[in-house]
Amino acid sequence: MTDSTVILEVPAGPAGPVTSVRGARGHFGRWLARRLALGVVILLAVTLLVFLATQALPSNPSQAILGRNATPSAVAALNHKLGLDEPILTQYVHWLGRLLRGHLGVSLATGQPVGALLWHRTVNSLTLLFFAALIALPLSFFLGTITAVRRGPFDRIFLMIGVVLSALPDFVIAITLVILFATVVFTIFPGVALVPPGTSPLDHPKELVLPVMTLVLLNVPYLYRLVRASMIDVLGSEYVAMARLKGMPPRIVIVRHALRNALLPAIQGSGIVLGWLLGSVVVVENVFQYPGLGSALTDGVHNRDLPVIQAVVLVFAIGIVLFNLTADALTIYLTPKLRTGSDL
């Protein structure tokens, strides 16, 4: 009932009736442009935050880098080298300018350009995330559908496992997997995922198993409950009852009618989950000594390697903004009502 009113209202929105596919695309295009602009604004704000945190805090970064016993002249020299003797605003503008031109600086610990270092690390971390998503998404959709269709003890057991798993800290899950599969109980998989520099993580499939498994265990409990909840909602809806009453086979009703709509919240959830996983990547890469962005960040913090820390934080922020944007765009693109709607 409420649905039909919404459908009636939508074409009469302020933007006028949307009659052609082209008009709908225009809507989507405008929405996308606005979201992209918002993303850029957020990223700019993140650069300001990172800059303030690393270069403008009362603690002197040169002192932090050189240690407490550094002579004042050495501190002054480094201050000059880092441009810290200029006014704050000038420093920020210069720093941002270099950043936008792709000059991420030179690692203070290794002397290598940060850009080259981070490129490999980003590829490695994305490899982990890619495999984690490749397993976790279908698994969550499957589990969510099954438990929604067959309620009962089966469902309740999975809910309980989900509640417990999602309560566990990421490094606890990682260490537990190491205990179970790499050291104490079984020794099937390596407990460290050392990928020598210059080689691709894809050449070391066995090393990837435990880190990927950790990430999968971290997001399936949340995602599958999302699918389950929306599936239960959809299965109770009138159009599913209608399809059933027409005598359609249950399997077709579920796959063709229910699943498509039940997946939408899950797609949006995946964007959020991928963002969370970026945080978990920091911890998981440390447990397995995997050479990705997360371990670059912790190494950077250990060595007070300013340019590396700044760049890694920005890459993480770009990742989160892109994941959310993609998930929202997909959701809108897959919902006809929203795609043509004026309330975007």
Binding site: I42, L57, V163, P169, I175, T176, T183, T298, V301
Partner: protein, 298 residues
């Protein structure tokens, strides 16, 4: 009724009504098995963390044997990477994570609630200003945010607590703002507005009591996640420093000896896992009860 906190007449019956709601929320949550299990586990771990040091057979920093020695009669869980007693260190290792997680949860919930209520019941531009600036924080993973500042300011328990607390504020604020908007539309708020009750008073006496259960659920969740985060920071080596004993730190210190002396890692892992499971179950039971009330209230 005393003059100090006398609410305007319009809201008095509502308030009485709401007080009982609050109690109903707590009582309702008790019917769920998970609340009771959660409470039992939480109480157990809190007792362990608080009174553990009194029960420890050795000092947490006393060398009692060779590094990574297996369990013996004097040290039932063996020794750690330098030869300290694992059991004593576990019994001493819960204090930091306990107070830090509770403090970070409180900071995040109180700060987030203040921001969320202000955004939800304030003027449009205040709402926009608050929520858009919080969006910036949401673009950085919580642990990355903490590490960014720890790298420059050096690590201290207080700094970690503040950073973790701040990083919970955006999500708490979003939840509280949504709930505030929802309550702000109800008739009794409109009635109070029409009568001319100051907005500040409406916030304190009409909106806030209505949000208490939601805030309580948020607090539980944030404490549970703070346990994860605080111990993760310790585990990464940026939290409590070595002479002290701390569960997260113990896992870090002893993971090299995992194959020879698993107890030095397993014991703190179990403690952290139980602690966060216990608090999560509690929060979950409460959340269930709250959504139950909403359903009943229609």
């Amino acid at each position: 009724m005393t003059a100090t906190a006398a609410p305007p007449e319009v809201s008095t019956p509502q308030e009485a009504d709401l007080r009982s709601w609050w109690a109903v929320g707590l009582k309702d949550s008790w019917q769920y098995g998970r609340t009771r299990v959660g409470l039992a586990i939480t109480v157990l771990i809190v007792l362990l963390a608080v009174f553990g040091p009194l029960l420890a057979p050795h000092s947490p920093t006393q060398l009692v044997g060779p590094p990574f020695a297996g369990p013996s009669s004097s040290s039932p869980l063996g020794t750690d990477y330098v030869g300290e007693d694992v059991l004593s260190r576990v019994l001493n290792g819960g204090r930091f994570v306990l107070w830090m997680a509770v403090a970070a949860g409180l900071i995040g919930t109180i700060g987030g609630t203040t921001l969320g209520i202000t955004a939800g019941y304030g003027r449009k531009w205040v709402d926009e200003a608050i929520m858009r600036s919080l969006d910036v924080l949401l673009a950085i993973p919580v642990i990355v945010f903490a590490l960014l500042f720890i790298s420059m300011l050096g690590s201290s328990p207080l700094l970690i607590v503040v950073l973790v607390g701040i990083s919970w504020m955006p999500t708490v604020a979003r939840t509280v703002r949504a709930a505030t908007l929802e309550i702000g539309r109800r008739e009794f708020i409109e009635a109070a507005e029409v009568v001319g009750t100051p907005r500040r008073q409406i916030l304190a006496y009409d909106i806030l009591p209505n949000l208490m259960t939601i805030i309580l659920v948020e607090l539980g969740l944030r404490i549970a996640w703070s346990i994860s985060l605080v111990s993760a920071i310790s585990f990464l080596g940026f939290g409590i420093s070595p002479p002290h004993s701390d569960w997260g730190l113990m896992i870090n210190e002893n993971s090299i000896g995992l194959a020879i002396q698993p107890w030095a890692v397993v014991a703190p892992v179990v403690c952290i896992a139980l602690f966060s499971i216990g608090v999560s179950l509690l929060a979950d039971g409460l959340a269930q009860a709250v959504s139950g009330i909403d359903r009943k209230a229609g």
